[in-house]
């Protein structure tokens, strides 16, 4: 499939020139095309922020919901119709800050969806405040004396929660990131891809050059099934590793665990209430 299948044509895009979001959009289209996923079978769920605008610029079904709340509807959409491919995509503030609780519990639930997080270590749409992943001493109009909170480490948190699939990518490297997206989308279970991405307007520290100088790829000898090793890699923050950090031993997905699909595989929208069965239940309550 050609990635142009996902193009929206001549549209006005609200991102700043040079924003890493453009690169991620292009990469996502390439990955989806490579996987032959039809726009009709795809649902992209996002929250609020510049990154969360991504489905607006992609030909697909989408649910652009509330700030921080992409994961709960994404989980429910997959649970209501497991045949759909579901991607939950937003920025670091949305997923790790406002939606932090959902991030934890979605990993525990393990729905078969892909969680792509644009991580530029700053708030863009609200004009440059610290995000949960901003590095220490990062100065902003609100954090005027510099950030003094420990940066949130999404990979370490996900591995600690035994997430099904955990990866980090860099928006400046299309080739490798397409590969990582492909793996994440085809992986059965919850997949996290934290995508490092510069913010050209509000983060003058973590630039393209900075990311290039401070990242490296996990090599071929790296074994992503070793959780302890993965955690160690995730905790390494002087240089940031890229690639697939961790894949948990195979476990049932949220949808597979649902009793709703034990006898009937059809999506919920195709089901009608069984009046006779409900009438029988009423009768059994009567005789209780």
């Amino acid at each position: 499939m050609d990635s142009q299948n996902f193009d929206m044509g001549d549209i006005d895009i609200a991102w700043c020139p040079g924003c890493g979001d453009f690169a991620i959009l292009k990469i996502l289209k390439q990955a989806l095309a490579a996987l032959e996923i039809a726009p009709q079978e795809l649902v992209v769920v996002s929250g609020i922020g510049q990154a969360a605008k991504i489905p607006q610029y992609l030909k697909c079904n989408y649910f652009n919901g509330l700030h921080g709340r992409a994961l709960p509807p994404a989980t429910a959409i997959k649970a209501a119709n497991p045949a759909l491919t579901v991607i939950a995509e937003s920025g670091d503030g949305d997923m790790y800050g406002e939606g932090g609780n959902h991030f934890i519990h979605t990993i525990r639930r393990n729905p078969d969806l892909t969680n792509i997080v644009h991580n530029n270590m700053v708030y863009g749409l609200t004009k440059g405040q610290a995000s949960p992943t901003s590095q220490r001493d990062f100065k902003t109009p609100v954090q005027v004396h510099g950030v003094c909170l420990e940066p949130f480490n999404p990979l370490a948190a996900a591995i600690a929660l035994d997430a099904s699939f955990v990866a980090r990518a860099f928006a400046g490297d299309a080739e490798q990131t397409v590969e990582i997206f492909n793996k994440a989308i085809t992986h059965k279970g919850y997949s996290l891809v934290d995508v490092l991405q510069p913010c050209v307007s509000y983060n003058k520290i973590n630039t393209y050059q900075w990311f290039k100088a401070n990242t490296y790829y996990l090599d071929e000898t790296y074994e992503p099934t070793d959780r302890t090793k993965a955690f160690e890699k995730a905790c390494q923050t002087d240089k940031l590793a890229l690639g697939v950090f961790y894949m948990s031993p195979e476990k049932a997905t949220f949808e597979e665990n649902l009793v709703a699909y034990r006898k009937d595989k059809s999506p919920l929208w195709q089901r009608q209430p069984n009046k006779e069965k409900i009438q029988n239940l009423i009768e059994s309550i009567k005789n209780m």
Binding site: A14, P39, Q40, E41, V43, V45, I48, K53, P55, Q56, K59, C60, N61, Y62, F63, N64, G65, L66, R69, L71, P72, P73, A74, T75, A76, I77, A79, A80, N81, A83, L84, N101, H102, I104, H105, L258, V259, A260, Y261, R262, K263, D264, P267, L268, W269, Q270, R271, Q272, P273, N274, K275, K277, I278, Q279, L281, I282, E283, I285, K286, M288
Partner: protein
Amino acid sequence: MGRESSTQSGDVSIVLCGPAGMGIQTVESLLTRILKQAGYNVFATREYMSRIRGGSNSTEIRVSSNRVCAFVNRIDILVGLDKNAIRHLEKRISSDTVILADISSFGAGFDQSRWTFVNAEFTQIASDIGNKLYSNIVSVGTITGIFGIEEDVVTSCVSQRFGSKSEKIVRENVEAAEGGYQIGCKLVDSGKISIDIQPDSSVEEQMLLSGTEAVGLGAMAGGCNFIASYPMSPSTGVLAFMAKHSADFGLVVEQAEDEIAAINMSIGAWYAGARGMVTTSGGGFALMTEGISLSGMLETPVVVHLAQRPGPATGLPTRTEQGDLELALYAGHGEFVRIILAPGRVEEAFYLTQSAFDLADKYQVPVIILTDHYLVDCYYNISCPDLTDVKIENHIHQTQADYRRYELTANGISPRGIPGYGSGLVCVDSDEHDQSGHITEDLDLRVNMVDKRLRKLDALKNEILQPQLWPYENYKNLVICWGSTYHIVKEALAQLGCDDTSMLHYSQVYPLHPDTAGYLNKAAKTVIVEGNATGQFCKLIKLHTGLEVDGKILKYSGLSFTVEEVAESLDKMLD
């Protein structure tokens, strides 16, 4: 006020009281089932403390010849399982109350002279059988003996209840019930207690149903196949009910990490074509309010069961109130259409919950079912809900390639597609959006979209439930109420026996029925009965009709209104 004298007859109020963890609920559920099986009309309501052990919890069971379904203050027979029970209910015990208790278990120094005690050796009989814990079942047996229910009915109900336990436990429970039964018969023979209530064989064909079960069954009958919620009293029973039947009925039931996740999940489920709901109470609903607004903007339906309890904040977790009407009315930022239903009776909780799913689907708006602790927790015998005439509507639209989710239409309702059904794409956006669902800052379009969303209010006006006027078409006094107070106000009016006073009960509180002003204008005097401190429905009526209600009867102690207090207040207020 023209009035005939009326006395309570053919109606006995039995109250069971004891500490949490002592099996009051077992006694209550067993006793009510035996009574119903024997053809007696039964109503039960509990009040309990927010704790797992100890304290004093009580259940009122009303048994009657003609069905009554309301909380009364009066206690005819009090079964006190410990001495604290007497203290707990002191204000409700009158000279006519017979206290049935094992006084030996109250300890030395207990002054029984102030009240009418009938000693019953519950503990002794239980100990003789082998365990003091059986004293509860002895008390059940005693009540059934007093009613003169056939002993076979009693023993078969007891055997059925404990059927899953070992043979020894079943036998001992049956023995305990039989022992109690003999006490009951002796009390009647000796003339210490007498009861004059006629069983009615048609009751046997009815079912005992609680508000919680009615909401759960109604949801299933309404095609609900997805529920995500976070536990919160008194709403959790609905979640547990759905979970219990999830495997049989193919329901997705998920305990969310918080109420925010719960409502966002349910909206997501509707987006994908499921019929989703949440069940919660005030505090949880407060957390969901951004989600209510989201449902309004996305025009993705959602059904919320909001079981009220007293606030603010944590308030009284196990008590009742009608204090969240304004929260439900105004929850969510921005302007959008919603529907708020407030069932007054258990059977109505079934039918209105069922219809809530069709309404939500048809108008693509949030529908809130506003109950309270009193309604969800009480139960009584009702005719079994009949699904024969229940029609499940389906408003899902198969999309074409050029599908636009927010097509501007005359009635404001745009055909609702779902992802994966048809060749179109379904784009929904919490930002202001164009007809295709894409973000826009075209401010003319913004105005068109607001107008489109609000037009749905006109579209649904024909389906607003008519408030129920009872008993007279023409009246001098009008008593207005809504939600769970239906039977209480009705019985209070019946007790007063006025021939010039009617009740106007609202089962849908929003949008307010357009005939409201007409009803009020017909009355010389209007009084409202509400379980809150500020008269929230009264304010809503004023807002929409400009009319002031003349008198307010308000209660916000955490307990439900009693029939007597409503009757007494009305008696003072009405001419």
